[in-house]
Amino acid sequence: MTEPVISVRDLRVEFVTRKGILRAIDGVSFDIMPGEVLGVVGESGAGKSVTGSAIIGLIEPPGRIAGGEIRLHGQRIDNLDPESLRRIRGRKIAMIFQDPLTSLNPLYRVGEQLVETILTHTDLSPSAARARAIDLLNEVGIPAPERRIDGYPHEFSGGMRQRVVIALALCAEPDFIVADEPTTALDVSVQAQIIALIRKLCRERGTAVMLVTHDMGVIAETADRVAVMYAGRVAEIGPVRDVVKHPLHPYAKGLMGAIPTLEAEAERLVQIPGSMPRLSNIPQGCAFNPRCDRVFDRCRVERPDPDIPRTGLEGEAPLMPGHRVACHLYTRNPVENAS
C-alpha cells in the first residue's frame, strides 16, 4: 500500500485573543494519497482554510498550531523551524489562493515572478529557468507563452491569472497542493477549465490536492474523497459519491439538501436552521447538536469522533470502505440511541 503524501493527525489550531483562546481547528485528521484530490467543504468559518494554512505552515500570529501532527511523506513538518519550512513551501507543498486578481504582485512581470520562484527552489540557470517558466505557462494552457511571459499581471484576465497562479504553484513540482477556493472568484465557464486543469495535473503528475471550496459542484466533479467540516471538526469524510449521494451526518445531509438541482420539482430547498456557533461558544458534546433535528441526550454530553458508521439505519445505502462519520446515531453501540 502506498504511503500518504500528507497525513494530518488530531490537528488543533488556536487563536489567542483578548477574550481567551479560540480553537479554530479541533482534532482534525485525514490522509491524502498521491494523485488524490480531497475536497474539503463546510460553511464559512468551519476551519477549511485554516487547515490548509496550517499544513503549509502559514498560520499567522496570534494563531498557532496547538497540537497534533502534520506529516509529509511520513516526516513531521508541523514542528520545523521557519527556514526549513520555507524550503518545503513551494518545493514540496504549494498553495493556490482564492482571488487570482490579488495573488500576483502587480509590479513584477509574470515571468519575473515565475523565474524567481524557480530559481529559489532549483539549481537551474536563469535562462533555463525562463525556458521552464515558458513550459509551465504552456502546460497550464496560456496561449503564446513566449510573448505572455513578459506581460504584467494586469494584462491577463481573471482565468488566465489563475492559470499563472497555478503555474507558479507548480514551479518546483510539488507533491501536494492546497487549493483554497481556486474557482470562487471566476466565471462558471472559466471555473470548469480551471477544475479540469487541476484534475489533469493531478492525474499526470501524481500530485495530491486538498481542494477547499464550498461549491459542491466543484467537489463532485473534481474530488476523489470529500471531508465535511463543521466548527473546526470533521463531521464526515469518505469517497465523494458516497458522501454527496448518501450523506450520513445530519449536517452533511442538510448541506447536500441545500444544493439546488434542476431535476428537483419546485420543492423548497432544505435549509439547516440556525447558524454555525461562534468559536468562543462551541457547545459541549457534538458541535452540531443545537441545530440537529435528531439530537438526543448523548449528543449534548459526549463529543463524537469520526468512526466507521453502523449500517442499516432506516434503509441507508450500503457503506463504502473509508467512509467515516462523527455522529452518535451511527456509533456501533446503539444502546443509548434509543433514549
Binding site: 518545503i88 513551501r89 513551494g90 498553495m95 490579488t102 495573488s103 513584477y108 527552489h121 504584467y152
Partner: protein
C-alpha cells in the same frame, strides 16, 4: 507617454500663470512701489514722472503682460532694500538653500525609509518602539524648537558642531557655491539639515511603516510566502516596491515644502539662504523679493510634481498604460 508629458507640462504652465498673477497682484497692489522708492520730500512731479517711467499708469493687463515677460527673463526688478536686481540676490543665496534642502530631504528619505521598514518588519521589538516614540517627537515639536534644542546640546554643551552659518564654501562654476567640499561646510550642514528634515523623516517613517504593514497583509505577499521565496526577497523586493508608490508622492511634495519652509531653519541657524532673505524682505516690505520668491517656490513645486508623476510610471507598470492613453 510623450502626450502625457506634454499635457502635464501644459497643466504646470497654467499653474505657474496663476502663481504669477498672485505675485503680480502682490507686487502691484500691496503697498505702492513708488512710495518705497521715493523719499518724503520728493516733489509730486518727480513722483509722477517716476510713475510714468515705471509704466504704472498703463492698464493693469499691460502691466501684467510686462511682468510676465520680465519674469520669463528672470527679471523681477530691483530690491527696495538692497538696490540690487532681485534675481541676482536670489541666485547668490539659492545654493545655500538648495544644498540645505537636498541634504535634509536625503536624510529624511534614507533614515525615514530605513526606520519605517524596520518598524514594519519588527513591529514588536523595543527598537521599533523607540523609533515610534522619536517619530512622535518629530511630528509634534515645532521646527524652531528642535533647532534650538539641537544647538543647545551639540553646539553649546558638547561643542561638537557649529551653531550658525555655512562654514567655508567653495566656488563652483560661475555662481554656485558649495559647502559640500570643506570639512567646516559639512559640519555646519549637519544640525540645520537634521532640524529641517526631522519632521519629514518622521512623516516618511510613519508612512512607510503603515504602507508596509498594509502590503504585508496582501494576498500576493501571502502567495509569495506560500511559494517559499526567501524572506529577504519578500520584504525588500515584493513588499518594499509596492510600499514606494505613496512614499514617492509624499516625499516629492515634502521636498517642495522643505525648500519653502527652510525659512524657519535658516533663521534659527542664521543660514545665508533664500529663506533668510525672504524673511528680511517681509520685515522691510520688499515686494519684488517676495514676488520673486513666490514665483520660485511655485516653480519648484510644479517641477517636483511633474517629476513625481513621471516617476510613478517607472515603479508601477499599471500607470504606464494610464499615461499612454
Amino acid at each position: 507617454m510623450l502626450a502625457f508629458v506634454i499635457r502635464r507640462i501644459m497643466q504646470s504652465a497654467a499653474v505657474m500663470l496663476a502663481v504669477a498673477l498672485i505675485a503680480f497682484l502682490m507686487f502691484r497692489f500691496v503697498g505702492d512701489p513708488v512710495n518705497q522708492m521715493v523719499g518724503v520730500d520728493t516733489p509730486q512731479e518727480e513722483v509722477a514722472r517716476l510713475r510714468q517711467s515705471l509704466g504704472l499708469n498703463d492698464p493693469t493687463i499691460v502691466q501684467f503682460g510686462r511682468f510676465m515677460w520680465n519674469a520669463l527673463h528672470f527679471d523681477f526688478g530691483v530690491s527696495y532694500q538692497f538696490r540690487q536686481p532681485v534675481t541676482r540676490l536670489l541666485a547668490e543665496r539659492a545654493p545655500a538653500t538648495l544644498e540645505l534642502a537636498f541634504t535634509a530631504a536625503a536624510f529624511a528619505l534614507v533614515v525615514g525609509l530605513i526606520m519605517g521598514v524596520y518598524c514594519a518588519l519588527r513591529r514588536d521589538s523595543w527598537l521599533a518602539q523607540i523609533f515610534q516614540a522619536i517619530s512622535l517627537i518629530g511630528v509634534s515639536l515645532p521646527t524652531f524648537l528642535i533647532g534650538i534644542l539641537l544647538i543647545y546640546l551639540f553646539a553649546v554643551i558638547l561643542g561638537w558642531l557649529p551653531s550658525n552659518g555655512r562654514g567655508e564654501v567653495v566656488k563652483v562654476g560661475d555662481w554656485w557655491t558649495t559647502g559640500f567640499l570643506t570639512t567646516s561646510g559639512l559640519r555646519a550642514l549637519v544640525l540645520p539639515a537634521i532640524t529641517l528634515g526631522l519632521f519629514q523623516m518622521t512623516l516618511i517613517m510613519r508612512l512607510v511603516r503603515a504602507e508596509m504593514l498594509e502590503v504585508m497583509r496582501t494576498d500576493y505577499i501571502k502567495f509569495a510566502k506560500a511559494r517559499g521565496l526567501r524572506t529577504r526577497s519578500i520584504h525588500f523586493g515584493h513588499a518594499l516596491k509596492n510600499t514606494l508608490i505613496p512614499v514617492i508622492t509624499i516625499a516629492g511634495l515634502q521636498l517642495g515644502s522643505i525648500i519653502a519652509f527652510a525659512i524657519i531653519t535658516e533663521t534659527v541657524f542664521n543660514w545665508p539662504g533664500m529663506g533668510l532673505l525672504f524673511l528680511k524682505a517681509v520685515q522691510n516690505v520688499d515686494i519684488p523679493i517676495m514676488a520673486a520668491y513666490l514665483m520660485l517656490i511655485g516653480l519648484l513645486f510644479v517641477l517636483i510634481n511633474l517629476l513625481v508623476d513621471l516617476t510613478y510610471g517607472l515603479v508601477d507598470p499599471r500607470l504606464r498604460i494610464a499615461m499612454r492613453s
